[in-house]
Amino acid sequence: MSARHQFSAAAFRWQETDGNPDVVAGNCKAVTNAVRDIYAQDMTNVIFGDLYRRAYSLVLHKRGEELYSAVEAAMASEVQALVGSLAVAGPSGQSFLRELLATWRRHTAAVSAIRDIVMYMDRTFVPATGRTPVRELGLGLWRDGVVRSGRIRLRLVEAVRLEKARQEEDGVVGVPGSGDLVAGVTEMLTELGADVCHEFMEAPTVSS
């Protein structure tokens, strides 16, 4: 009989501490700070175990909504910052493409790191509520925020056209590496969606 009473006394208190609004806000803040650090390529100071636990506890205590929107907002603002840095990249076709691809790689690496942190949310909350998974969210932000955004869109089309024209001039493969640029851009666009690739790659070739 004694064991019966012992148990009820030792009921779990974990739920109370983590449901506290301050804790929730703190956890959300920690995750958004991490998103910033990850985009800043400052990975070594990001403690995965801690962030994973915070994200997990938010989802477990039905705060998935807050976490999701916090992550979404943080990623969107980081992508905006990337666009800003791209806008100042040199006007020349080749260096622009190079810069764009480097930023793209940085973005995908960051998205994959963020995905790791919020893996639990991606696994449970996202399918349960029909949200866009974090990976697709990252692709969408890049597609709509960068590739399709006014200035960059035009410069990209122009740069690709120039690049292709130069390739034809130089023969099959001109300067080593320049062919890779177009291939890299195609790869990026394909990943963004089949329609996106058509949008950029076919229109110019048909017109020229």
Partner: protein, 807 residues
């Protein structure tokens, strides 16, 4: 609301089919549907990828689907069809019944179709069939019929959680196969974070590698892992230049074969390399491979095949052990599990120190092993964040005990827990395995928790489990347990106020809800809404309301009270009680309460003739409610043993032992003075006792009553009568039990001097929460010697009666 209704009951007309979003498996190809059905024949369920139409018919469907028919061929057979083709046709099982609703469950797990009876998946399996070509896309369930109406009710869709061991082995095997396929396409990241990996994924991988081989004249470098090598043979790292093993005379294909055999359990080798492979495995003492190579060489020479330079590839696999070695377990022969377990204990070859904040070092572990089980751990050690380089890793907010169990499981593949009082640790382990996506451990935890589930733990388990999406089955079982022990769970402690609204509401609506009186339901609802720290009775809440407003009392939960009050079945209460409620402050301040009470009073005044038109559940008796058998006076005719003598109200009283309605046993063998019939005969007997028996060197004397398999009693009073002797009992206990083995004390008496005359009656109430627990067996046992001069371990009573709530 409509969905709610449909969940409760629906009737399918002949040749029709009901579909709905609510009858959808969360995961394609895997799920379980639990339902009750009543029909003359052909309870038909269709499983397919998309929703079907109302006039859907499985014979006309060209898309892939499964059909399960209970009571096919005029209720004679069980049939399973795959895409319209009959694959199972078994006579005499899983039949349906028109007179009453029968419970069934059908579970589909990657083509393994299981059908069973009852409301608990994986219990009472009637039939199992494994589709050789599993249809992993089925997701929607259609409820259909043949030429007669079929009634369905209480339909719930659960995730398919493989529970029993027979199921396990098959599923695990399928699991392993799936992984085998994915083994070589490493770049393809598993979609699901909880996918588990195999050691073979780490073959020639630089991830976590801490040893290298340098082979051949070209000095090719091949990464390996000390823990894997050391667990399958003897690789002496100390003498071989730290972590480098230099093998200039060995060619790459041979080493590759050796490693593949160690990591994956099988390999291919060209015939002419077999000798060198044998030599290499001898050098490193990889015993199983040595044996296999020798066998193969022997076979080859026997056939007379010269060991020439033939380039035939030979298959070397660890002797069939793969088939019966459980598949979810990442370690396969030749990797020795014993050695792996030792490495956890010794910390040998470890590359990560695990700390739990507030406890300190928990273990010296291996990144490889942790990564095998869990994707988050893999990411933790590889994605370039702080832990990827650090030698120490810290975990916060976890119990060290639970974390140790997690590690033990990872290293041994078993969850060894035999103490039923550590449910709280198990719940934390369940949360941990959910957090780190270790599905297998999650199932194991659920299994153990279910095994140890008691009325005392159910509330805390439910609290934790309701937030984990993948533990629906355990949650369902907890809710049922809570509902069937509603009185106890809401009285013994008030942890239930911490449950969330949805869970509490589900319990209140549960079909198996069992209460002694509707007042208890009302009290529980009020307690929950007040978030009180002790049980409140409605009349005390009523008093509180005279000084404070409902807003002050109920706070945030005031709105919820309107959802919960309709679940109290006021019409089942006594009129006098209702009239008191009508005048109470509750009725004055809470509009709905007043309305419900008024409705019930009206119902009560109208008499029993009127209500037939009223189909609302509120007016129905609960399916499993208790009959109150109240103590009035010593030797009255109100107790359960008397009631059993009338076959529970069916006829005139006869001795219940003779009527075989109850069983009575004594600690000593039956004899002239130890006669079960006499104890329940209502007559005085001058000599009637149970003598002592020797139980582990301790004397014990008892009388035991079994009120039958289908009956339970929440005992709140009992009466005994002394026989003609002066051997008065002084220290004894009354105990109750559900299984006749584990006993709970109901009443404990020490040196109690009430009985002091031969033939005297004496009665005692049973107080405390244990009076709210239902039991089947009752035992009155001496715990100390009696007052008698001689034979002072004889339990001399000639009459016993029990009172309480009976069903």
């Amino acid at each position: 609301m409509r969905i709610e209704d449909r969940k409760r009951s629906l009737t399918v007309a002949p040749f029709e089919c009901v579909w709905g979003e609510e009858f959808r498996f969360a995961e394609a190809g895997r799920g379980c549907i639990v339902f009750e059905a009543s029909a003359q024949n052909d309870v038909t369920l269709v499983f397919r990828e998309q929703l079907g139409s109302q006039h859907y018919h499985y014979r006309m469907d060209s898309a892939r689907h499964y059909t399960v028919i209970l009571g096919s061929h005029r209720n004679k057979r069980l049939k399973i069809e795959v895409d319209g083709r009959t694959v199972v046709d078994e006579a005499g099982i899983g039949l349906c019944r028109l007179s009453s609703f029968q419970s069934y469950w059908i579970s589909i797990y990657d083509g393994l179709i299981s059908i069973g009876q009852g409301r608990h998946p994986n219990n009472n399996v009637l039939f199992q069939w494994l589709d050789p070509d599993p249809n992993r896309s089925v997701q929607y369930v259609g409820l259909s019929s043949w030429d007669k109406h079929v009634g369905y009710r209480n339909i719930s869709v659960l995730p398919s959680a493989p529970q029993n061991s027979i199921l396990w082995s098959q599923i695990e095997y399928a699991y392993a196969e799936r992984h085998g396929e994915g083994g070589h396409t490493k770049n393809e990241e598993p979609k699901d974070g909880c996918e588990q990996r195999l050691i073979s994924d780490f073959l020639e991988s630089w991830d976590f590698s801490d040893a290298i081989f340098v082979v051949g004249t070209e000095r090719k470098v091949i990464p390996a892992h000390k823990i894997v090598l050391a667990a399958s043979g003897e690789f002496d790292f100390s003498s071989m230049n730290g972590s480098t093993i230099d093998l200039p005379s060995v060619s790459y294909p041979v080493l590759r074969s050796l490693l593949e055999y160690i990591y994956a359990g099988s390999t291919q080798i060209a015939e002419w390399h077999l000798d060198s492979l044998l030599e290499l495995s001898l050098q490193f003492k990889v015993e199983p491979l040595v044996k296999r190579c020798e066998e193969m060489l022997y076979c080859l020479t026997k056939i007379g095949n010269k060991l020439s330079a033939s380039s035939n590839n030979l298959q070397v696999s660890s002797s069939g052990s793969q088939a019966h070695q459980v598949g979810y377990f990442p370690f396969k022969a030749p990797v020795c599990v014993q050695k792996i377990k030792q490495f956890l204990a010794s910390g040998e070859h470890s590359d990560i120190n695990i700390f739990v904040t507030g406890h300190g070092l928990v273990a010296q572990a291996h990144k490889l092993i942790l990564s095998l089980w869990s994707m988050p751990f893999t990411k933790m050690f590889t994605n370039g964040m702080k832990e990827s380089k650090a030698p120490n890793v810290f975990f916060e907010d976890v119990s060290a005990q639970a974390f140790s169990l997690l590690l033990q499981f990872m290293y041994s593949g078993e969850l060894i827990v035999d103490n039923r009082y550590i449910t709280s640790v198990l719940v934390q382990l369940l949360l941990l395995s959910d957090q780190f996506g270790i599905t297998v451990l999650q199932f194991e935890c659920c299994k153990k928790i279910m095994e140890f589930l008691s009325e005392d733990t159910v509330c805390s388990v439910l609290q934790a489990v309701s937030s984990i999406a993948s533990c629906k089955l355990l949650e369902e079982i907890c809710k049922r347990n809570f509902a069937t022990h509603f009185d106890y769970c809401t009285t013994a402690c008030t942890d239930f106020v911490l449950l969330d609204e949805a869970t509490f509401k589900d319990i209140l609506q549960h079909v198996d809800m069992t209460v002694t009186s509707e007042e208890k339901v009302l009290d529980a609802i009020l307690t929950w809404c007040m978030e009180a720290s002790e049980t409140c009775y409605w009349n005390s809440v009523d008093k509180l309301l005279s000084t404070s407003t409902p807003e002050q009392l109920f706070g945030e939960r005031l709105t919820t009270i309107n959802d919960l009050l309709p679940l109290v079945r006021f019409p089942l209460m006594q009129l006098s009680l209702l009239q008191r409620m009508e005048k109470s402050n509750l009725a004055k301040h809470i509009q709905l309460f007043g309305k419900l009470v008024a409705e019930a009073v009206e119902f009560s005044n109208a008499g029993p003739r009127m209500p037939t038109t009223n189909k609302c559940e509120r007016f129905l008796h609960r399916r499993s409610s208790y009959r109150e058998l109240q103590y009035i006076s010593d030797g009255d005719n109100n107790g359960v043993i008397y009631y059993a003598g009338t076959s529970f109200g069916k006829h005139q009283w006869i001795n219940p032992v003779l009527a075989k309605n109850i069983t009575v046993m004594a600690s000593s063998p039956n004899s002239r003075y130890t006669d079960p019939k006499v104890l329940v005969s209502k007559n005085y007997q001058a000599t009637c006792f149970a003598g002592p028996r020797d139980d582990d060197g301790k004397k014990c004397s008892w009388w035991m009553v079994d009120i039958g398999q289908d009956h339970q009693l929440m005992c709140n009073y009992y009466t005994v009568r002394q026989d003609g002797s002066r051997t008065f009992m002084r220290s004894w206990v009354l105990q109750g039990s559900m299984d006749g083995e584990n006993w709970t004390n109901l009443g404990v008496h020490e040196d109690e001097r009430t009985i002091c005359h031969p033939g005297q009656f004496a009665s005692w109430p049973i107080t405390g929460p244990s009076a709210l627990l239902p039991f089947r067996f009752f035992r009155l046992a001496l715990t100390g010697p009696t007052a008698g001069v001689s034979n002072n371990w004889n339990l001399c009573i000639c009459f016993l009666e029990l009172y309480g709530y009976f069903r």
